[in-house]
Symmetry: C3
Subunit: 340 residues, 3 copies
């Protein structure tokens, strides 16, 4: 089970209850009343625990699991060891996520303002907010209900947070309007000046950065990521978008809904992403591009041109996936010939 120093387990739940909560179909009969006390990885799960198989790579581990119940795709059900209760679903990972949320519900913040927190008298704090030790909130900021501002975080003047926003330890936010249920992880930097200056023989001339960062509902921004505010227009992150750690978002960037940006991705100024765009780790996009809805950009890709909706690009410079694979294959053959 999860380390009780850090996590409190709820439940138990019957297999039937788990089926009901997740939409997975309980296979075979007689398992409805099976009592499940926890979730666990396949390798370590016990007979009163619930696990999942989501990656064919782990089928061998699945065959030997001692888990009492397991979410699995119907196509892989035949690999199951005897006795395990199968919870069939086309989306085992999603079902596991919902079950794990049932076993480990996130506790709401315990309301209160730590004595060492510095909250300006003009701040509008919604009910149920928790402001931890040494956090600082500037004048005229406005927080919705049940916000959690962790230790040593800094919320600047005039910043607006919606309801149920969580701001991690030592994060800082300025010049930003944040929606509901947004999670800002520790060390995130939101709303500072973009990288804007004009060349001049006597030294660069700083361009005032007069926009904001606008973050829509249900966004997550990973640890130590940086999002600069707009130079004139705003920098915008669409609802439900997931941003990993150490990601850089330049000024005026517009990101659509439910995009996924894996860690260490960088997006240069004024580039626009449609909805459902995915960018692999360390992907890089130059500025002023348009990336269409549902486009996929590979890890370490270097995108220098617009990408049409639905297209997958790889490589640096990035090419459409088929062309990239042809290039890699052609070069391998060429290198082999040269060596023969």
């Amino acid at each position: 089970m999860a380390d009780p120093r850090f996590f409190a387990v709820a439940g138990p739940f019957t297999a039937e209850e788990i089926s009901r909560r997740t939409g997975a179909t309980l296979a075979g009969a007689g398992k409805e009343k099976l009592v499940l006390r926890d979730v666990a990885p396949l390798e370590t799960a016990e007979p009163d625990q619930l696990s999942f198989l989501d990656n064919r790579k782990y089928a061998e581990v699945f065959r030997q699991t001692r888990a009492g119940a397991c979410f699995v795709h119907p196509d892989l059900a035949r690999e199951a060891p005897k006795g395990v209760a199968l919870l069939l679903t086309p989306e085992p990972y999603r079902a596991y996520a919902l079950a794990a949320q049932a076993f480990y519900p996130e506790p709401p913040p315990v309301p209160g303002v730590a004595p060492s927190a510095v909250v300006d008298a003009t701040v509008d704090l919604g009910e149920g907010c928790r402001i931890e030790a040494n956090a600082v909130i500037g004048d005229h900021a406005k927080l919705g209900r049940r916000c959690l501002v962790c230790a040593n975080a800094v919320i600047g003047s005039g910043v607006v947070l919606g309801d149920d926003v969580r701001v991690g330890a030592s994060a800082s936010i300025s010049h930003s309007l944040i929606g509901n249920r947004v999670r800002i992880y520790p060390g995130v930097r939101l709303g500072q000046d973009g990288f804007g200056f004009a060349p001049d023989p006597k030294g660069f001339v700083k361009v005032p950065q007069l926009g904001r960062v606008v973050v829509h509902d249900d966004v997550e921004i990973g640890a130590n990521s940086t999002v600069d505010r707009g130079a004139g227009p705003d920098t915008v992150i669409g609802a439900g978008t997931m941003i990993d750690n150490l990601v850089q978002i330049g000024h005026n960037v517009q990101i659509g809904r439910q995009c996924v940006l894996v860690s260490q991705t960088g997006i240069s100024g004024s580039t626009k992403l449609g909805d459902f765009v995915m960018i692999g780790g360390q992907g890089g996009l130059i500025g002023h591009l348009n990336i269409g809805t549902g486009a996929k950009i590979g890890a370490q890709a270097g995108v220098m041109r617009d990408v049409p909706a639905g297209e997958t690009v790889l490589g640096s410079p990035a090419f459409p996936v088929r062309e990239f694979h042809r290039q890699v294959a052609a070069l391998r053959r060429l290198a082999k010939q040269s060596n023969d």
Copy 2:
């Protein structure tokens, strides 16, 4: 206009006054007394607002702007819609920067030390400094005049800041000497140990890092960037250099004047950059290199060798720009042939 929760607008200014302040030439007659109340992007600018066209890509937007006045290169002036007052200049972005500074002058810090700040009794604070809530300044640090140390920032023992330095929220500085008008953005880490250790069968042996970070005047260091102090020599950043977010500067690196390092660039230990070097986003340089004055290193380039002054290199491993483009083109042709 810029969100008044975050920005206060100055002015208004006449077109003539803007011409005088920026050096741009007001075209045509009768526009001298035009009253301008704000700057704005071309798309949203109103008849009493000032905009600029700097990128040919936005010429179509320019043709339809309702802006009262606009900075534009003489070559693009004929694209202007009727009625807009043209401010002609070979450097419209620079002129816009100066105008925007006039409309949105940066307010000087309001002097004072927050009650929750922890400033050692031996600190030498120049007049006009502002030390915000929960900032910490160690013994014998020395700050020039009008420095701004934002909330939760940490300035270590003995650190020296010049005049008009701004240290962002939650940044930390140790073992460093900082010039005048330097901007350290939120979350920057300046002066920690470099990555120095010697191999040993029993575990790595740590090499004491005995140098400093020396930052010259007018440098900017972007959010969450890291600059390690020297191992023996200093790590040095030359005057006027602009460093974006999430950039890594290793120990003993020497950077010249007015260089530009775009976000997520990494420079390994002991590499030296001349003046006016530009590095695109996610560029990487191994250690102990010499990069000549005015060299340009492309985004995601991987530089393994010295780069002569004025040369442009691209790719990983990096090659001179022409050779890189020939390689990309040759590989595309080869892949196409293989496929035919």
Copy 3:
């Protein structure tokens, strides 16, 4: 000598004493009593100072050094200028490290808890700990002896630190068990949620992250690096591993002993590294890989497949080193031919 504002020098030591402490052989006679007062780089070392030559690239500087004594590999000893006392060793950098530690011993933390630190009443603080200004330590955390928690750092509920751990300014740690003599640099983020969510037409479903970060003895984690806790299993960093700045370690990653991860490296979830693995700057590994003991992964390499023990891979996508070099050479020839 090192700037006395930041460093206090110990000593002096005789050449004989240095030889004894480092295992280097003092060449020639009559130098045993030579008094050495400091370490210094070759370029600036004075006759009472000790230096080292570790990189053939600096042989010319060595020939002109005024250093009183110098660690050098026997093969390069003949390049020495007259009069310098040679300390011969196959590992000059390691010997220099030990000597520099003698001249600049790291002072133990001065015990005490700053009045502005917020340490929960249930925290178990070992003897000799130093908790600096505005640091925050949550309930039931447990710190070993002589730990140093720098200004504005945050240690979360239940976190365990071993003896002699140093946590840098503004770092944050949650859900983690940390061994002895571990150094967490400023701005590190340890133990936050991994990047885990399941797709769903109505928005991503968050997967509770129920594991921990386990850091073994003698590990260093560089400034602003991020290590996510496990999703179910733990994220594990083996003893003696050195992690540079701005490195990303995903959930469930397991890293062996004495690995070296250069700055801006990213390792995706569930990938496993054996012992003594080295990854160059900006290297990237996708998830669920196995990297064998002693494997070397080049700077900017993009690793998409398992790497056998002892193999070196380069490029993106990564290939074994010989194949990579053949590819680079073949492409150069092809581009040259196309141009002729």
